[in-house]
């Protein structure tokens, strides 16, 4: 009888040995990746431990001995977290410490209670504790506190989140350019919402020499969404300089092959065009770091064909407020300077209103925008169908997945996507691809439609979709791609912008960024989160 009571006490003591790591996991399962899988596995082991202990007590019980239930209350509910939130190291250590304790206590309990199943759970705990301890040391080596959610999800608990891209990441780490190109291609398809976070965790878990090696061996490394933006900028600037030198060298080359000589002038035209694109990117980058503006970061570029470039004024990884501007119809790299300037003046205005906030303003030409079609509003004959928007939306989603993955942990940071003209259609389609996870705010200006009939179909939650359109903007009233976001029935929050000229011109379609205009001030207030300061339509008229 006394021996049984002693066994009951011992069993009751060890029955709760996995409670602490289970509670810690419940509080961080929101990070996703391997965390929920590991939390579920831990819960199974915890339940198995209880059952094994109760079973052992049943075997030890004599006549008249009652076997108590060792079941313990379920773990606490998890709280909701912001999209850039991180996890405190102390919470991560709780998991490792708890598993280490279990690894020490369960073998002793197994022996004294004659329960080999308990020993097996102890062995599992020891193996997990070792793996997590090693991974935790890597995660915390850079001193970042709290740890970012993607890093926790796919670094710390990466062993519980297997993926088909692991081989590509391993290949890229070894300097395999084809693996890198395949990764970039997979990213632009946006079919895996975890990919950017996996990329970020992969990079952060590499040791310094492996990072150096990958950076040297892979000139296109900076194109990968999810890598730290400072690294992307460094790699992409080096790539740009390399391209510039290569193209310039071609200009002074005379081919010896006669056949090649015939097509050389046309080829040189393309080279010249690409060099023009390089110049536009360089000039855009030069708009940053000047007169109090933050440095510009080159997130990606492509000088071929119509050209693409994604440039941020301010470091989005460290920003409290990030806004990405998606340009529309007819945007090409050759005339991208104005779009870059729009991103710059939005930064100026937002920072003027909120000087204590860190702001990053991105100009995103990451897709091939449709070129002008004067038959835009002729149903059935328009080339401005939504095919380009579909493709662009996937690339845009890849950007936002990447921004979330590489951002430093923050409970308050917000991401706004600003779609102009056809860019609003790209934005709308992107939002639908990541319902509830695409951005914190969506803003449409001069929109011909965003691909849905009502704001609520964008999956943004109430009050998170904004629309501004100038009277006299001919594009804004087309409703070519779904209902007009500027119409009351759409359900967006309409903010005030100046009327365009009384005559119908495309000037009104381009006036949303005029410095100190009501439109730009409203855009800045939205980006800053000062929503109560936004002048709603029709607004306070003089």
């Amino acid at each position: 009888m006394v021996a049984f009571q002693h066994a009951v006490r011992h069993a009751a003591e060890v029955a709760g040995v996995l409670d602490e790591p289970a509670r810690a996991m419940a509080a961080q399962a929101w990070v996703g990746g391997g965390a929920p899988a590991f939390a579920a596995e831990l819960a199974r082991r915890r339940a198995a431990l209880t059952a094994a202990l109760e079973s052992a007590l049943s075997r030890l019980a004599g006549e008249g001995d009652a076997v108590p239930s060792l079941a313990r209350p379920a773990t606490a509910m998890t709280a909701l977290h912001g999209s850039f939130s991180g996890v405190e190291p102390a919470q991560l250590r709780r998991v490792v410490t708890g598993l280490t304790t279990a690894a020490g206590e369960l073998p002793r309990a197994a022996q004294s209670l004659g329960a080999p199943e308990v020993a097996a759970i102890g062995s599992w705990s020891a193996a997990q504790a070792d793996d997590l301890r090693r991974r935790l040391a890597l995660i915390l080596r850079d001193g970042g506190t709290p740890a970012s959610a993607p890093l926790v999800a796919f670094g710390l608990y990466g062993g519980h989140a297997p993926s088909a891209v692991t081989a590509l990441l391993t290949g890229a780490a070894g300097g395999d350019a084809a693996a890198l190109a395949r990764l970039v291609d997979v990213q632009r398809q946006a079919s895996d919402p975890t990919l950017a976070a996996r990329v970020n965790a992969w990079w952060r878990m590499l040791d310094a020499s492996a990072r150096d090696q990958a950076e040297k061996a892979l000139p296109g490394l900076g194109l990968l969404d999810g890598l730290p933006v400072a690294l992307r900028d460094r790699a992409n600037r080096a790539l740009l300089a390399g391209e510039k030198a290569r193209l310039a060298a071609l200009l002074t080359t005379v081919p010896s092959d006669r056949q090649l000589l015939l097509t050389w002038p046309a080829f040189l035209d393309r080279v010249m065009r690409e060099l023009d694109h390089v110049k536009i990117i360089e000039e855009g980058l030069a708009q940053g770091g000047r007169n109090g503006r933050p440095p510009a970061y080159l997130l990606s570029f492509d000088t071929r064909a119509l050209g693409q470039a994604v440039i941020s004024f301010g470091d989005p990884d460290a920003a409290d407020r990030v806004v990405a501007y998606v340009p529309g119809l007819n945007t090409v790299l050759a005339s991208y300077g104005g779009d870059l300037n729009r991103a710059a003046v939005l930064w100026d205005q937002a920072h003027y209103f909120a000087p204590a906030q860190k702001i990053a303003s991105i100009a995103w030409l990451g897709y091939r925008a449709p070129q002008i079609d004067w038959q835009l509003n002729v149903p059935g004959r328009s080339v401005a169908a939504d095919g380009a928007a579909e493709k662009g939306a996937r690339a845009l989603v890849s950007l936002t997945d990447g921004l979330r993955a590489s951002h430093g942990p923050s409970g308050t940071a917000k991401l706004t996507i600003l779609g102009h003209s056809y860019g609003s259609l790209v934005t709308g389609k992107a939002a639908v691809l990541r319902p509830g996870r695409f951005a914190d705010e969506l803003v449409f200006v001069g929109s011909p439609g965003v691909g849905v009939r009502r704001a609520e179909e964008l999956g943004m939650g109430p009050g998170r979709v904004w629309a501004g359109e100038a009277a006299g903007d001919p594009v804004a009233d087309l409703a070519r791609f779904g209902n007009d976001p500027g119409d009351d029935s759409f359900g967006a929050r309409r903010f005030y912008v100046e009327d365009g000229p009384f005559y119908l011109t495309f000037k009104a379609h381009s006036d949303y960024w005029n410095v100190h205009s009501k439109s730009l001030r409203n855009l800045a207030r939205i980006v800053n989160g000062d929503h109560h300061k936004v002048t709603t339509h029709p607004g306070a008229q003089p």
């Binding site: 708009q287 000047r290 007169n291 109090g292 503006r293 300077g337 104005g338 300037n341 729009r342 710059a344 003046v345 930064w347 100026d348 920072h351 003027y352 209103f353 909120a354 000087p355 204590a356 906030q357 004067w374 038959q375 509003n377 002729v378 001919p474 100046e498 000229p501 005559y503 119908l504 011109t505 495309f506 000037k507 379609h509 381009s510 006036d511 960024w513 005029n514 410095v515 100190h516 205009s517 009501k518 001030r521 800053n528 000062d530 300061k533 002048t535 607004g539 306070a540 008229q541 003089p542």
Partner: protein, 153 residues
Amino acid sequence: MIRLSALLLFVLVACGETSALNERQATERVEQLIRESVAVIRPQPSLELYRPSLNKNLCLGATDGGSEERVIITRTYYLRGLPKDRFVDVAQAVKAHWQEQGHVITQTRGLDTGEPEIAAQSRPDDFILSLSWTQGDVLGIGVTSTCVWPDVK
């Protein structure tokens, strides 16, 4: 097709503001508008230049027959040293001054909350003027020119 033709016609007949000022003159005018506006404020604030406003910005979407190679000149200043309980009086004084000058007030808001926002268009030259509350409870004043030709360096 009728719709298309009408659209093209409107675009073709479109004409608008053309500034005769050059960059230097526009900068002087911007500074003058700010100086005169600040002069009516009591107590007198100290002006802190918002440095990003020194950046010349492109003349975007110009359909006034002019070139997009022109620039827009802006100057923005924080008005330091003004107590928050004076913000509404300051805004009303500046607004009254702008009206006296014949400028067109295009926005008045925030007087009821003590966080004013006043905007206007200057006459005769259509510069944009604004007085705004900013985070940290500091008022700022900004003026932006129309499109002007940059000075040749």
